[in-house]
């Protein structure tokens, strides 16, 4: 465990760690593009130069291993000047695209230039022209002119996704990122290249031109796309959710997430949701406040205790399962509770990196709660019960992410054999609105970003997450529905909302601290420019 001094701050690092990691540990500012903690060292951007005492030449921090007693500093004028020039080298052929570029506002070049830049460009020659808007594959678009050739994306496809689609072609300042002819950047993790791109060279086709990033707020949560439970950030504004990006968590997902998980924002937006309570009887549809509808159901459940069954999917939080199951068991004595498994065949599959076959974020949590209440519902019993009409009222807590429920339609048909189908769920399932032979009550629920709770992932790790925002204000959580169904009134305990027990809001690792900006300070205040 060698100790070293970074700008006068003493720090102890692990054996074999580099000066860059010591800089990260002390949170001293250091400019860099090509270094990424999740990838191998390339040492090509040459920005992380620093002085090492006793070494006449400045060294790069990312490839120099810390030795005992090393004294490192990047505060000298020589180093600062060097960094300014290297930044200028990055920029001389970089187009003035910021107004069009999607990365503007969260761009590594913008941020680092504000902190370390030279501010008086001396380039008077024509810039090198390269290809713009290159279609790399189904998810990513490349702009070669903006690329600073840090090779992060190339290393990602080589080392993490292990698909090696990307490479650097040509040489000198004609170098361009690209794919081999006939090959496309098409893998299940391709959008990570967009995240790690420090400039706007790689942009996501899905998010491209949808919003400027400064219109977006973000909030950390846990992805509910599969049972891995990657830590993610959702980006939203009053118009809805726009994108999902990974957040570093060593225990779960590292720096990455899959492309599938990035689509989860789509079912959070209003147009994919049930927004009011709906009662449908004999082809006639009436709208109702969700709370009132849930309360009304109390009488029916109480009256037909023995003929009521509950179906749960693995898409809700542990707290909700507990509230729902315990209210069913304790209030009504119902033990016909069943677990709806969406894809039995590929349930246990795992691709070795992040993607799991179990597309529910909280299957483990559901099984734990069922075990706690000693419920052993077998799916066959439900099917039989529906057939012989011993189950007349069926309560289904349907999926949020209906896209991963391949058997949704067939199961809706199965559930329609009951007399009264109570559907609790957020996702708009159109086939429910076409059922004419059964009474359907739909209670809209909140999605995982609109509530707080706990998911237990496939590895058994409990992950608490906090609320991001509310999209459908009328919607209830499963807990609230359970309370209303058991005949009680909602006393929304707002004060009970704990302080976020989830990951503390860390700053991004390559983020430049704004207070370090010296010159050209641009602080936008509405109307006071």
């Amino acid at each position: 465990m060698p100790k070293c001094t970074i700008n006068g701050k003493e720090v102890e690092v692990k054996d074999g760690q580099t000066i860059m990691e010591a800089f990260y540990k002390t949170e001293e500012p250091i400019a860099h593009y090509c270094y990424h903690p999740g990838l191998s060292v390339a040492g090509v951007c040459r920005l992380c130069i620093c002085d090492i005492e006793g070494n006449p030449r400045p060294q790069i921090a990312c490839n120099t291993v810390v030795t005992e007693g090393m004294k490192v500093s990047n505060k000298s004028d020589k180093i600062k000047d060097g960094v300014k020039w290297v930044l200028d080298f990055h920029l001389i052929n970089h187009p003035l695209d910021c107004p069009v570029c999607d990365q503007a506002g969260e761009c590594g070049l913008q941020e680092q230039y504000m902190e370390f830049g030279k501010y008086d460009p001396e380039m008077a020659e024509h810039k090198v022209k390269k290809h713009k808007v290159v279609d790399l594959g189904p998810t990513v678009v490349l702009d070669s002119e903006r690329c600073v050739l840090c090779s992060r994306c190339v290393r990602f496809t080589d080392e993490v996704s292990k698909t090696s689609e990307l490479g650097i072609f040509n040489r000198g300042d004609r170098s361009e990122i690209g794919t081999v002819e006939g090959k496309k950047l098409d893998n299940k993790y391709s959008l990570n290249t967009v995240d790690i791109c420090p400039v706007g060279a790689l942009t996501s086709k899905d998010f491209r031109f949808r919003q400027r990033v400064w219109y977006l707020k973000d909030s950390e949560t846990v992805c509910n796309g599969c049972s891995t439970g990657c830590n993610v950030k959702v980006y939203f504004n009053k118009e809805g959710f726009f994108r999902v990006k990974p957040v570093y968590n060593e225990k779960v997902n590292g720096h990455w997430m899959c492309d599938e998980g990035r689509d989860i924002y789509k079912f959070l937006n209003k147009d994919a949701r049930f927004t009011t309570g709906i009662v449908r009887q004999k082809g006639e549809q009436t709208e109702m406040a969700p709370g009132a509808l849930a309360k009304e159901l109390h009488k029916e459940i109480k009256a037909k205790k023995d003929q009521v069954a509950l179906v749960l999917t693995g898409q809700y939080t542990v707290e909700e399962y507990d509230a729902m199951v315990s209210s069913m068991v304790k209030e009504f004595g119902i033990s016909k509770i069943y677990h709806w498994v969406n894809n039995k065949e590929s349930f246990d599959s795992f691709d070795g990196l992040l993607l799991r076959g179990d597309k529910n974020p909280n299957t483990k949590g559901l099984l734990q709660v069922l075990e706690k209440h000693q419920i052993k519902g077998v799916w066959g019993d439900l099917e039989a019960g529906l057939k012989n009409k011993s189950i007349k009222t069926l309560i289904v807590a349907g999926p949020e992410n209906k896209a991963v429920f391949d058997n949704l339609e067939t199961h809706v048909k199965l559930f329609a054999q009951a007399e009264h189908l109570v559907w609790l769920g957020s996702a708009k399932v159109d086939s429910l609105l076409n059922l004419n032979n059964v009474k359907v009550s739909i209670v809209p629920l909140k999605t995982f970003v609109e509530k707080e709770g706990t998911f237990i992932n496939a590895a058994g790790l409990e992950q608490k997450f906090k609320r991001a925002t509310t999209v459908v204000h009328e919607a209830l959580t499963l807990t609230e529905t359970a309370i209303l169904m058991s005949g009680k009134n909602l006393t929304v305990p707002m004060a009970q909302i704990e302080k976020p027990a989830f990951l503390e809001n860390k700053r991004r690792q390559d983020q430049v601290m704004l207070e370090n900006r010296k010159k050209n300070e641009f602080v936008f205040k509405r109307g006071s420019l």
Binding site: V41, A42, G43, V44, C45, R46, L47, I49, R57, P58, N63, G82, W85, V86, F89, H90, I92, N93, E122, M123, A124, E125, H126, V128, V148, L149, G167, I168, N170, R171, G172, D173, R174, S175
Partner: protein
């Protein structure tokens, strides 16, 4: 005076072939070497003070002793990717005496314990590759290569590998990348090739001339070899004399030979009516010397380093007073811009920038501040990259601009060359 050590039999056509080579003392010393202890050979080379002839001038024996002491397979690579503008000595050595190189390589491979070696030849060298391949075949047939060489129990295989014409593949890690089949780009150091090189195994990369010289160290012993040259730069060296001299060509002289003598005796002096203006003493990457400095210079590593330049690959480019330094810099910058591998930012963008500035000066669009800008850009490229290519591009700029600033200023002010008086377009068409 020329000293003929390596080039003693180069005038003989038969020296190219195994029989002729053997007639003139070839492969005699191989037996002697194979009977020595490998460590003894390394010690002998170390004692001879042989320094790398490729450019950096690092002690060869020292380089060999950096190999880790384990049983990992290791490789010997002969760097015959002679890309430095002005250098053509390796070509001569491969064309005239391929067996001399092969013999030196077998000895070196035995010393470092390598069972496999490669000769990485520059892509443009069609003929030398042909000659080498033929020579390797001959050596295999005669039992100098292959299993159990000369009954010593030492196995060695040799391959000739052709590059694809990138300058940067003359840099040892770039060469290794290219040999591995990857894009020819230098690798980060550490780890050094002696620890992790070709296929992540310990690798020694030496220049053609260095490896050929090993034969003579074994033949005559370190002490005899040390008699040539100076104390710190022992031995002889081939210099590729080119430019405005009467007799350009390869000349083998003792290190420490006077540059003045080299130009005037071996090179036959300047063309009639012309005066010496400048000399680039070690290939295009070496900073230029003015005529006054050149008259004082001796051709050894120390003296040239003292003068702020380097011996490099030994390519002496003589420039007389009919040459425009701005135009020359333009040519050099075009070369480095073309050859930068594009990995490190300062070099990738800097070489392009320097090329653009020099050419805008050449086209008469230059501004006076461009001259200072050249210096600033070059200053900030120097020592900032993985390999030495950015230094190689920056050093000529710095020396050209500081030593011949008047020519640059004249060009910017008048829009034409001070020496030739003509415009860029006239000069090139």
């Amino acid at each position: 005076m020329e000293t003929k050590l390596l080039t003693e039999f180069y005038h003989l056509d038969e020296f190219r072939f195994l029989d002729g080579y053997k007639k003139n003392g070839g492969y005699v010393n191989l037996e002697k070497a194979l009977k020595m202890q490998p460590q003894a050979i390394i010690d002998e080379v170390k004692a001879s003070g042989l320094r790398g002839r490729g450019g950096a001038g690092f002690s060869t024996g020292m380089k060999w002793s950096f190999l880790p002491k384990n049983n990992e397979p290791r490789y010997l690579v002969c760097n015959a990717d002679e890309g430095e503008p002005g250098t053509f000595k390796d070509r001569l050595m491969m064309e005239r005496a391929p067996h001399q190189l092969i013999e030196g390589m077998i000895m070196s491979a035995f010393a470092v314990g390598s069972k496999k070696s490669y000769i990485y030849v520059r892509g443009e060298y069609y003929y030398p590759v042909e000659v080498l391949e033929q020579a390797v075949q001959e050596a295999y047939k005669a039992g100098y290569l292959g299993k159990n060489i000369l009954g010593s129990g030492f196995d060695h295989d040799m391959d000739v590998y052709r590059g694809a014409g990138a300058y940067i593949c003359g840099e040892e890690t770039g060469l290794i990348s290219s040999l591995e089949g990857q894009k020819g780009q230098p690798k980060l150091k550490p780890p050094f090739p002696a620890v992790k090189g070709y296929l992540q195994k310990p690798t020694i990369v030496n220049n053609v001339e260095t490896l050929a010289a090993v034969k003579y160290i074994i033949r005559d012993g370190a002490a005899a070899y040390k008699k040539f040259g100076t104390e710190k730069s022992p031995g002889t060296k081939l210099f590729s004399l080119s430019g405005n001299v009467r007799k350009p060509g390869n000349y083998e002289v003792n290190l420490g030979y006077s540059l003045n003598d080299l130009i005037n005796n071996e090179g036959g002096g300047m063309k009639p009516g012309r005066k010496l203006k400048a000399v680039i003493p070690g290939g295009s990457s070496a900073p230029v010397l003015t005529a006054e400095e050149a008259s004082r210079a001796t051709m050894d590593y120390e003296c040239l380093a003292q003068m702020g330049t380097m011996l490099g690959s030994g390519a002496v480019i003589v420039i007389d007073d009919s040459q425009c330094m701005v135009d020359m810099l333009g040519v050099l910058m075009h070369f480095y811009h073309h050859e930068s591998c594009g990995q490190c930012t300062p070099c990738r963008e800097g070489t392009g920038w320097l090329n653009k500035i020099t050419h805008s000066i050449l086209e008469g669009k230059g501004r006076l501040q461009d001259i200072d800008l050249l210096v600033k850009v070059a200053d900030n490229m120097k020592g900032r990259t993985i390999c030495a290519l950015s230094d190689a591009a920056a050093l000529p700029v710095l020396s050209f601009v500081t030593k011949f600033r008047d020519e640059f200023e004249f060009y910017v002010r008048e829009g034409r060359s001070k020496v030739r008086g003509s415009f860029y377009a006239q000069m090139h068409h």
